[in-house]
Symmetry: D2
Subunit: 432 residues, 4 copies
């Protein structure tokens, strides 16, 4: 199943690391460390093979991929030997990275993006294309009535207005082109009722928001630990020091606000209350692509005795993000094949601010219930999200034959399946 | 259901904190922070109420409980106001704390301990008594053929030999007296084939080993995080600085060895491989009852990029341990009532070095499987252990009537129930 | 030499801790830990004894000192036994804590404060009174022409205008009453040309600004370490989490700005360049009086190899500040006696943002010179400041007789002494 | 002044980094970051220029320098571009790296080493040669009467006994060849009365022990901070995790003991008492050449209030050590020229366990005196050591003409100069 991965922000750090990594894995030059779909528990014939992924994308800058890869190698994000070894393959991908259509009205831009996507699919004879947004985080946009329903939105766009933030424009184009959409950023993306409507109409799945790679990942296991032990978290305060392109942008108060909100959500939803403290993001150019996050947690134990924990996380954001981008592309493509539509809530494992609820996502009663909202389906605890993800992979698995070569053609939802056939008729239903 | 809790090491820090805490909770003077059986998800009418617990125990020292409690208050482990308010109740418990029988042969000591237990049960008209070992950690004892089967052991003891370490002697006495046994320490306790035989014969449940309160607790959520994300942990090195009575003892190389082994087990069993590094325990008198643990974790991400995390945990060990002692006493007593016998593997949540396997403990397929051995049932990940614990509480719950006042009398095992009736006929089976 | 200490903000945390501490030391109930004037190297007969300090002050709130002391004891800042033991003495000090005169014009307020000071001195027959500002940090005030010279200022005040921030009004009153003035806060205090003129006219010494108690103290030894080793600091970023009254105020952006500026000064002046990064102050109510500061330092070593250091400081601000308040009162009173006027630059050891330069303060060539500006007299390195302080104490020492009972009457400045006689004729000159 | 630097352990990490660094500096390919003799305050015409250093040495292994340099580059210790650029120069140095003479009696080995040194000096027409020991740390050797005086030692060696540890054998050879000796390791080196006698007879200076590069460096500024503030350090506990060749060796208990002792000395000597706690060294292969040290300090403030600080140091040991090796070679050569003999106590700045006392080393009264023994001249505080080092450079400076081209020939000691003429007549005395 040759599958297209269309990266918005294709010349950025995360995108370039994803591309180099996929090429390295295909060439047998690296281990799939960090790829969760390569864990024994999640391997599935329903997923396109890493070697079957074909890359393309948009970016507003023109730096050649190989130059960006060399810069990442110099910064310690990529092993230099891989960049050298894969220069030719990178030049191949380069041909499929397009400038962002500009100039005219937003409707025209969206149409041009749609055409780029269908052209890419046709040129490479791809079964499916998944668009993944890894471009610069946008400020939170002003609301507009056109966001609320598809008819209004279409009318407004046709009237020449530009009412969508770029990420939502990309999602609109993806759905129009029959592509699934994943948002790895905190930007708006598909998170508008009008776009949900469009995805439903086109029978397409989508996923997001904001890849969970560092401090929030740690929070998503520590907060449940405190909850499961009935320890009362009093404060949780943190600071993230980061450089790199993403850091510079997040230093802008507007982008920062979007991100910081994503980062604290896990606490309230896992603990059932919001402890004091905030998470700050600070841009420090010299830190570069390796982020340092420090968190202090103060909590009360038995009889109110005060205790504390602190941690420092020193991670390379792009190297943490890239394998997840590959995982998401594979999982979303397989979900598309299997006929899933709407938000893929079982992919909360990958996100700081996951779409939808996990109420019907496969988390069993045993894994829920230590926190407050968790009892009613919050689902921010990593182990719960793992269970949901595993459930998804099992259901996808059930759609393919024993030999892994194709689909069984059987319904695979738990109860409500059968009628939910994928847009192109190839897949059978998995109810979400 | 008035339930006895017999504490071995009753005048120690953990024991005294447990007693003061239970009295404070009964008197409505404190919140049940730290008690996991008070979480909404784990509350059950099958458990004896906190107010129904009756305390007694053995110790080799004679410091009055109230003096020990005052010392703990001065050290910040107990709120001074509680010690003042509960002085009278503490004096009541004092009457049930006995010196450790000494002098004669080990068989005699065991018989004297057994008599202390049955006397305690009779005096207070208790439905059940659970012995909890919270005494000083012992060195690993030399092996002896008598450990391997009950007949040999009985013969050897009757012949006047002292072949059991004290903790195993206590377990022998508990089982002989018809009491369940919990080992909160890394000592031998019931962990000998001969004692397993005795527990089985007497149809008694037991649990252990080594309460999981600090650094290992954190490991049990962080190691699964790395595993679930397919990140390769390269080293995990830590140091535990602690003072207090337990610290002084653990500074002895022999006791230290037992403890350090407990502490690393979680890594191998959760990750499926053993990273480099060790966990050291260092006694620093001035640190007192608040332990500081520091851990460094280095790991590789995508394409082998090196990253690192460190954490500092600053916790009050006794305040972390005490509510778990109460939880364990409640759960084990309820399991006894419900007819459970042998190791309570579902209580792994509480222990560094849990007894038995979780293969049949209620963990569902969804919660397993990210690590190596986890796939085959290792079960050291906290979320898996939570699921197993929750499953146990559900099954216990099913044994009591809707109104919570008594037992249904129905079998409650999944398949193999019915025949496993508790020693005193009061409970029905839950197969372990 | 009975010496008055008049505390502005007398009911605050720092003030109350200072008072309780001085009373405890006088009563022999505590060791002088944290008092640098009690170190063998700095002990001097020229300093008033701790037992000779007499306290009074102003505050805008009315909480009795003993209530505040009890609250501090509950928060772990003061040992409860001391508060109990000293209740009576505290009630004695209580009588000398006055409400802040309010209502009328600023000139009137200043006059009333002056009267409070002279009344206090007379009532207790004090040789000297030192005013120490430990009140809430003020926002940076707007500039006004009256700040620039005394004649204008006097005229403007007499015309009924309120052009001074409160701290400067207190300094004006202190100088008018013939009292030395110390500013332990980052507020304006005596830091206006008009007030320098007044202090000079009245032949009075003063000192400030902003007590150096936590993270900045650590910076003042670590930054010189990097400088002396020729290691290039690339970034220095930190966060201070604090609760308590001071924390709540510093959460106000205006006060925060004043404080954060103080905190970074040490880096530029010690290193000779300003590394990237900022120091943030965050108010977290639950943290209370114990501040947690975390700093990350990244630096380059030989051949540009990148390295890093981080530290966490967990200190009780009031307990760090209080002994310094006592030290400053003793040193400033002795300097006053010895005829010193103007800024006491040798007291930079105590401050984040010290007044004046150390060019002529006793630091020898050997202790200078590793950094950039240090070469020209910056003097923010703690060891240099220690040397300057030690030089001051030696010169003060030279003004008193061998038996420590009185002054020698000899000039003690290095060159320019002799003519600089204290306002009240009691002291002889030490040139600053 | 062309100066030889003879490295014992010439193929090790520190040696190779020193050589590559010196070549890079000479070629203008790098900044002298980390070289303290390049600070404005310490620059002196009395020191040989970096470009005038000529390298040679001994090692027991045969790995070519360029191979070692490549390995260090791969490990992040050296910038790869420098190794590439300097390959030819490295091959030049290679010719002067000799295998360690072995086989015969120790007297013979020493003679062979001596011959290697004099050959090297002659071949390159060097003014001076300094031997620097950067070889593997030895276990503490058994004592032997021959260590106590030169006559006995000579007799014993001539009798065919091997009574010196290798490092002392090297020092014997250096002194015999008229070379100064620096010990950068904790090994015995010149630290034997017999060798002191030999150095005195040959009028040679020497320095040591154990380069101060990481955690101990930090201690040498933090401990004085606590002392100067009269804060009572209660515990100071640390762990050093390190890999690399040195780490593997230090994992041997014997070598570890020598090192750990060095590391704690600074505390007792700076504070005047020894706090609780220990420093542990742990070998973790994966950590490689970047050491991570974590230290916890608990201390009491005013009225006994407990506080704490912790720090993590993540440094590249070889990159920290190498510039100091160059500094030490330059300073020791200049001291030799200037006629200094015996231990160079003013070089304590560079060492964990400095030779001799600083009583007469140029530290002024102002910089001493906050600690206990410091009062009597301990001199472990970095700022004191800096002052002593600066004093030495000034005195060396005074021995050369204004134009920096040659020596003035004037006496330069403070009182006792004049008579102390260097062995080869080139230098005049500086009394130590
Ligand atoms: N790396 C992580 O761990 C992580 C985690 C969560 C989310 N994210 C998000 O992923 C995104 C990418 O991060 P990065 O580090 O690669 O940033 P980056 O700055 O390196 O790359 C972003 C790229 O997007 C391009 N771009 C900007 N506007 C665009 C537009 N309108 N259309 C197409 N391309 C556009 C930029 O030119 C740039 O090449 C960010 O939004 C970041 O917040 C990253
Ligand atoms: N506190 C924790 O977080 C924690 C976690 C895991 C395990 N543990 C274990 O719990 C145990 C108790 O810890 P603690 O801090 O209360 O220690 P402690 O030293 O304060 O108390 C131990 C008590 O056991 C008594 N004792 C010793 N030998 C005995 C014997 N033969 N019979 C009866 N009593 C005996 C001692 O006199 C003492 O009063 C230790 O083994 C410890 O390793 C504690
Ligand atoms: N504690 C430290 O380590 C430290 C270090 C440096 C500076 N400081 C400064 O010391 C000051 C005191 O700190 P704190 O923790 O005691 O704060 P606090 O809030 O406990 O006390 C301040 C007191 O000042 C009083 N006050 C406010 N305005 C006043 C006025 N106009 N006249 C008289 N009194 C007034 C308040 O009522 C309060 O009682 C702050 O400015 C703080 O920034 C403290
Ligand atoms: N790097 C630092 O920060 C630092 C600080 C203080 C002290 N030191 C000391 O410096 C020394 C060198 O450290 P390193 O990291 O370079 O170690 P290393 O293991 O890389 O190098 C030591 C070298 O010495 C050689 N050697 C061993 N025995 C020898 C002998 N008898 N004669 C000649 N050569 C011999 C070895 O073959 C090796 O090449 C160690 O003793 C270490 O403790 C290093
Ligand atoms: Na840390
Ligand atoms: Na830390």
């Amino acid at each position: 199943m040759r599958t297209g991965v269309w990266l918005v922000g294709a010349r950025g750090s995360v995108a370039t690391t994803s591309i180099v990594g996929a090429l390295a894995l295909r060439a047998g030059l690296a281990e799939p460390t960090g790829c969760v779909t390569e864990l024994p528990a999640l391997r599935s014939a329903a997923l396109p093979a890493l070697g079957d992924l074909v890359f393309g994308g948009h970016d507003v800058v023109a730096t050649p991929l190989v130059k960006k890869a060399e810069a990442l190698a110099a910064a310690g994000v990529l092993p230099p030997r891989l960049v050298t070894a894969l220069a030719e393959e990178l030049a191949g991908v380069e041909r499929e990275v397009r400038p962002v259509p500009t100039g005219g009205r937003q409707a025209g831009t969206i149409a041009a993006i749609t055409a780029d996507l269908t052209g890419f699919r046709a040129r490479h004879g791809l079964d499916r294309v998944v668009m993944v947004n890894v471009s610069t985080t946008e400020p939170v946009p002003p609301t507009h009535p056109g966001h609320a329903d598809l008819a209004t939105l279409t009318a407004v766009l046709e009237a020449g207005q530009a009412v969508l933030p770029p990420s939502a424009g990309y999602a609109f184009a993806a759905f129009t082109a029959g592509c699934a959409y994943v948002d790895f950023t905190p930007s708006t993306g598909a998170r508008l009722p009008a776009l949900a409507e469009l995805a439903a109409r086109e029978r397409l799945p989508y996923a997001g928001h904001d890849g969970k790679t560092g401090e929030t990942l740690v929070k998503s296991v520590l907060a449940p630990m405190f909850a499961m032990r009935n320890l009362r978290v009093r404060t949780w305060s943190g600071v993230n020091l980061l450089g790199g392109g993403d850091g510079a942008n997040l230093a802008e108060p507007a982008a920062n606000a979007a991100k910081a909100a994503s980062k604290q959500r896990v606490l309230g939803e896992t603990l059932g209350y919001v402890p004091q403290g905030t998470t700050r993001i600070e841009y420090v150019e010299d830190i570069g692509d390796f982020k340092t996050a420090w968190d202090l947690v103060t909590f009360s134990g038995f009889l109110g005795i005060p205790m504390r924990m602190e941690f420092t996380w020193h991670g390379c954001d792009s190297a943490l993000a890239a394998p997840l981008v590959l995982d998401l592309a594979r999982l979303t493509a397989a979900a598309h094949v299997a006929g899933r539509t709407g938000p893929l809530t079982e992919l909360g494992f990958f996100f700081k601010d996951p779409l939808g609820s996990v109420a019907d996502s496969g988390a069993t009663a045993e894994t829920e219930g230590f926190g407050g909202v968790a009892e009613t389906g919050g689902g921010h605890a990593l182990a719960e999200q793992w269970a949901a993800l595993r459930g998804l992979v099992r259901r996808l698995d059930a759609t393919v034959g024993r030999d892994g070569t194709g689909h069984t053609g059987d319904a695979c939802g738990r109860d409500e399946a059968g009628d939910a056939v994928g847009r192109d008729g190839a897949g059978d239903a998995i109810a979400a």
